[in-house]
């Protein structure tokens, strides 16, 4: 009945990752791998749901190039993809410093491991910061749009390029709508920020400026661009406006389908949370390296294990990058 007992009790050492080595890998590393497999399937679930939804709305899905167009320091410049490419590169670099730390650990070079771990943590923090900036731009929005009673999002274009509400809306708002705050309304209730422009203001500005056209969400299958409506059609659509949208949140999204924003927040947020927890774990291991814990233990396998987790985060980002920004 020897098979019932995996490890003889007296041979068990808590911190060496288990004495037995199935598949030539210590238990700790093996379990990290199997955790990664299950976590990969969680991300697959999210990306599959994203794929399903995208296929469901394939004729009106937002075009990533028109959504993510910011780059730090370049205001008003149309810079699709550059920023997210930079983020991808930062994460790859952090993966490299991590694997260099693991490599140095194999050679028992404590100082080198510590420095590479430190670099990994720094790059990780830069990545999370970049993601926060990306979120900020997405939440604030760059152009503004309106939503009709039948749920369509209408954007405004001039000479084929999208323009912001502030670029063409003129006049004063006459509907007398003011932000509800505690001092001018019910002290126990607050209101979300209201739009800068009223519906009538936008409709009148559109009427008086014949250069402005309206872009619908529908994609032309031939050119793979959003269809721009004629002035008359645009007028008819605009008459159905019920809401002015500036930016994106879980309920409305100036870029198009609300569920696009929901998936963006959920998937990049879940990934960002992984990066954050990776940074925290890395910091713990970093201090252990400095304190010489692994030097005394005789091996740096813990560095290898957190390294696996960190590389996995990079691996997921590669897929998020492709399916959110490229495809």
């Amino acid at each position: 009945m020897e098979a019932n007992i995996a490890i003889p009790l007296d041979g068990k050492k808590t911190w060496n990752g288990g004495g037995q080595k199935p598949f030539g890998a210590r238990y700790g590393k093996m379990m990290m791998w199997f955790f990664i497999v299950s976590d990969a399937l969680t991300f697959t679930g999210f990306l599959a749901a994203y794929g399903l939804t995208r296929f469901k709305f394939i004729d009106s899905w937002p075009i990533a190039d028109e959504v993510f167009t910011h780059f730090p320091g370049l205001h008003g410049v149309h810079a699709p993809m550059y920023y997210v490419a930079l983020m991808t590169f930062i994460l790859i670099i952090s993966s490299v410093t991590m694997v260099l730390a693991v490599d140095a650990g194999h050679q028992m070079k404590q100082k080198k491991v510590a420095w590479y771990m430190f670099a990994t943590i720094i790059f990780g923090i830069i990545f999370v910061g970049s993601q926060a900036w990306e979120w900020k731009n997405f939440i604030n929005g760059s152009y503004g749009a309106v939503k009709t009673t039948d749920g369509k999002v209408l954007q405004f274009v001039k000479d084929g390029h999208q323009i912001a509400l502030s670029d063409f809306v003129v006049g004063e708002r006459t509907d007398g709508r003011v932000q509800h705050e505690r001092h001018n309304g019910l002290w126990f209730e607050e209101e979300e920020t209201i739009a800068n422009y009223s519906i009538a203001q936008i409709q009148n500005s559109y009427k008086s400026n014949s250069d402005i056209q309206i872009r619908s969400e529908l994609i032309d299958p031939v050119t793979k661009q959003k269809i721009i409506l004629s002035r008359e059609e645009g007028m008819a659509q605009l008459a159905k406006t019920k809401l002015v949208i500036e930016g994106a949140n879980l309920k409305v999204n100036e870029y198009g389908n609300t569920i696009f924003a929901d998936f963006f927040f959920f998937i990049t947020g879940f990934h960002g949370f992984h990066v954050l927890s990776g940074i925290i774990i890395n910091i713990i291991i970093f201090f252990n390296v400095i304190l010489g814990t692994y030097e005394r233990r005789g091996h740096y396998e813990m560095v290898e294990k957190v390294g696996l987790y960190w590389h996995f985060v990079d691996l997921v980002w590669v897929f998020v990058f492709t399916f959110f920004y490229l495809v």
Binding site: L41, A48, G51, F55, S95, M98, K224, L315
Partner: protein, 113 residues
Amino acid sequence: MAHAHESNTKRIWVVLILLTVITTVEVVFGIIKPASLHLTSFFGISPLNWLFIILTLVKAYYIAWAFMHLEGEKKWFRRSIVWTSIFLICYLMTLMLIEGSYLYSTLSPLVKW
């Protein structure tokens, strides 16, 4: 673990260069979007999308094999990880994407643009 004390630094730098080049190619194609690749269709999606997906899988291969050091693990340990994941991911993706297409073909005629 078999080569625990050898340094793989050179391999790491080579893989870094590869990943950087692949990402750059992806981004350049993503910005230019050549009409001949973007507006045509090949097995259901545009050749450009095929290019992105294949390059992504190449990147995933290098991250898993070189950085996560799967290439140094025992063959059946590697297979228990890779085969399991690939099978389940392909399975789920196929079902969900078929379902998504079905939803589109069923619901889109009801939407008035």
